[in-house]
């Protein structure tokens, strides 16, 4: 592995300052970053270690709102009772990541901000994500690539927790040299047509330090359903994060966000609107699934994602709505 210096950040402010050094990179759990350094996809001179920051790994509740430190491990997050019961979608998403070992090391913020797992990018092709001017998947092996929102890059966003956080209408707290700013989850992620080299709007001198979840509304239920390419330790082929606010059998409001289909967590506002105020019947769920895939634009080898995503949306919606 290339040599680098590891520096421990004392707090978020300190981390941002240390990231000001030439060729410095922030690191949380490190599972993914170390692999990228070993593959020479990232070649830092300085690693700014964030896990040394105290109290950025905790869940705290204030006036019904919940704040989650960005450095909480995925394992702790998935077991946190307050999250499991009221923000189930997030606990389930965290639990679906990787393996126990990865969840014990990996952090929420790291999962949200991880780089794409497109095999062209990960094998060192000079693609958009590596600062190049080409997406090799368009005419290549694109079976795991985007069916929505693609162009010029067709990666899919690799995070499981990101769709959950968008579905929960979370706010991301970001620290920079000026202090802190807050970005709604839905505005945090950036399509390649906005910036093909990256996946979110964080500026040069910013790190994601915490996530705020709005107070859970009564009669709200949520779930994360992930389709993997074996039974464990793959990124989502397709996933669905769904939050339903129910009034008896009637859906008062819905938020549906897909993973594995687009370069960002892919929210379905039109489908959400068609569910509002209606009982979720099998027929409605099927209509919603059809509507969900309107505008899908598959590549040569990923057309299977269209029927697959339909099935996922329909089933997940129905099972969540009818959950006792």
């Amino acid at each position: 592995m290339k040599s680098f210096a590891n520096v421990n950040a004392r707090d978020a402010k300190d981390a941002v300052a240390k990231l000001g050094q030439p060729n410095a990179v922030a690191v949380g759990g490190g599972s993914d970053l170390l692999g990228m350094v070993k593959e020479h996809l990232v070649e830092p001179d300085v690693l700014v270690h964030l896990k040394s920051i105290r109290k950025l790994d905790q869940v705290s509740a204030k006036a019904g709102e919940v704040q989650i430190g960005g450095l909480i491990t995925l394992d702790t997050l998935s077991r946190e009772p307050a999250i499991r019961s009221r923000y189930t979608v997030l606990a389930e998403a965290a639990e679906s990541v990787g393996t126990p070992q990865i969840r014990n090391a990996g952090t929420l913020a790291g999962n949200v901000c991880q780089r794409p797992w497109c095999w062209y990018y990960r094998n060192g092709f000079p693609c958009f994500k590596a600062g190049g001017k080409q997406c090799f998947s368009i005419t290549g092996e694109n079976q795991f690539h985007a069916i929505f929102g693609g162009g010029p890059s067709f990666i899919v966003h690799p995070s499981d927790t990101a769709p959950a956080l968008v579905a929960l209408d979370a706010k991301f707290r970001v620290t920079n040299s000026d202090g802190e700013r807050t970005i709604p989850a839905a505005e945090f992620f950036a399509l390649p047509r906005v910036d093909a080299a990256r996946e979110n709007v964080l500026a040069q001198d910013e790190i994601l330090t915490a996530v705020d979840l709005p107070a859970a509304r009564p009669h709200t239920r949520s779930t994360y359903h992930k389709v993997l390419d074996r039974e464990a330790w793959t990124h989502a082929v397709v996933s669905a994060a769904i939050v339903l606010e129910m009034d008896q059998q009637v859906c008062k409001s819905a938020r549906i966000v897909l993973g594995g289909v687009a370069p960002i967590p892919w929210r379905l506002p039109k489908v959400e609107a068609m569910l509002a105020g209606k009982p979720i019947t099998p027929e409605l769920a099927a209509q919603a699934a059809e509507a969900a895939l309107e505008g899908a634009n598959p590549l040569a080898k990923n057309a299977y994602k269209v029927p697959l995503t339909k099935a996922v949306v329909r089933r997940t919606l129905l099972s969540l709505a009818t959950k006792a």
Partner: protein, 701 residues
Amino acid sequence: MNTLKTVGHPTSRIDAEKRVTGTATYTGDLRLPGMLYARVLRSPHPHARIRRIDLSRAQALPGVKAILTHENCDVIWGSGDMRNKRYLFNDPVRFVGDAVAAVAATDRHTAEEATRLIAVDYEVLPFVLEPEDALKPGAPEIQPGGNLSPTARGAHEPEQYRRGNIDEGLRAADRVFEDQYSSPHINNAQLEPRVAIAQWDGDRLTVHTPTQGISNCHTEIARDLKLAPEKVRIICQFMGGGFGNKNQDHDFELMAAVLAQQAGAPVKIEFTRKEDFLAVHGRWPTKQYYKVGVRNDGTLTAIQLRGYSGMGPYRKGTGGIAGIEIYQCPHVERLVYPTYTNKAVSANLRGPDFPQGVFGIESLMDDVAYALKMDPVEFRLKNMTRKLNDQIPYTSIGLEDCIRRGAEAFEWRKRWHAPGEGSGPVKRGAGMAMGSFSSSMGRSSAVIDLDARGTYHLHVGVTDIGTGAKTTMALIAAEELGVPLEKIDVIWGDTDRCPFSVGESGSRTTTQTGWAVVEAAKDLKRQMAEKGLPQGNQLLTATVNANPAPLTGQARYSFVAHFAEVEVDTETGHVRVTKYVAAHDSGRIVNPLTAESQVKGGATMGIGMALHEELLYDRASGQPLNAGYYGARILTHLDTPEVDVLWIQTEDPYGPFGAKTLGEPTIIPSPASVGNAIHNAIGKRVNDLPITREKILGVLA
């Protein structure tokens, strides 16, 4: 079958405690004083000529002690290619991962940095990835003489097998079925990556290496380095699997030896996992075209196969496509074209010629049975092999029992149905397939020393790739000597201390080395009867170089039938194996505990081959895309079903107590049985391995 005292009883491995306490010493665990670390620089191109290599910056890096390239090292790696001269470093390079240089330095990070400081100027050449494309006129020539790899006699023609007259057989058929199948390159993916340590003591070389055969390794390293065999010692105490890719000597051992010589210090060479996936070898990909003729009563009249195997750019394996030999049939023709391509090298992986070939023929035979409205089990019972190639009787054959009793244990009649039958999005289906594997006797050796304390020191040149060979040999010795297992002290894995042993490939250790152990024990008993027990520092020694005469007029084979039930979600393409029965005739089972592990493991590996594994290449650039455990989707704990093992223990007059081969038959029918179960569930067939979600949703669309 008679019951024996020691053989045939489930017994924990004699080295099990070492394996669970972290004290089993694998090659990578060793450190020698003053040891250097070596890394390899590899070609980033599928095919390129090297115009120039500039080592100056690498040589200037402090800590760098030696660098090898094709310009200063002309060692030929004899085991790397059966047909052409394959050097340790080749120009042109012929696949992504072909070795370009090796660097030894004071630590592994410096060695790696140095490889990145080597500037190579490549002239990029056209490349070809698929065997059928490689055989077209105008395809880039990968080896002199063309891309069809020549036969052992040097003829540029396909490997051929014929009996009867294929045209006559097809004419005699009421119906002829035709179809085509394919299987990809997949990697052995044994957990232990390649590592070797080479140390010179004057003109004597010691190599610590994870090998499946210290004896092969010994003679081949001596051959390739032009050393007298007595100047070479190979040591392998524990090794972390191989499944066929650690049979012979390998380039990395030779590189370590040459680097150690140049640097004047021991050298440990290490591969990354990616290198292990790309730069060693995996199973050869195939394309298979079949024609099968059959009478309306289900009798086979003809089987024709034309097959293509992608060997990568070097001929390291046979490229054979086996499977049709499990059927009796008067007219058979098989033509196989082992072809050079610019993909990773292909050679042995557990049952090298078999599971992909069996997938092809057993998929087609399933379709034939369905078309004739026959139960697939009945169809196989009717047509299964009775004699090898319909000509040579087997020494023992339990195939019928494997099928019948396997089907019973699996509850075939309950689980199997007309293809695609059933309502609801999640469908269940049952499938089966069968296979056979040679278990011929052959050369191997054993030495037993009896000391005055009554301990029998059994010297066998095995390394134990995970099969439990050390324990198996000890059980066989204890049985023949009539002493408790604890009295046997096994010495293994060191060519200075062990006699020749056949490599742990071809599933031969139990039959061949085990037979030598039996012979040595018999000899020792004779000596004890003559000379009495040894006294003081005396040893009584029995040395046997067994070389049983080949069987004439008989063939010795193991047989197998596997049964799989799957659940296929027709809306998501998700497949889950829900029941699995593996019935094996491997003669007498020496150690049912470790044998069961092997069967479960082979079946599991086959399920992974059926559903997931494929080394995928980008067609435009010739770059591999998914090397590694994540990319290959190697099965995990959560993917693996319970595998029920059924022993059909035929009485066989040969081999140690009638034991026949086991390790490789365990994977042979596994992918086919899963494929047939998926077809049974959804009523559609996927002809190309692996049977992914994408393909299932594709055939259902």
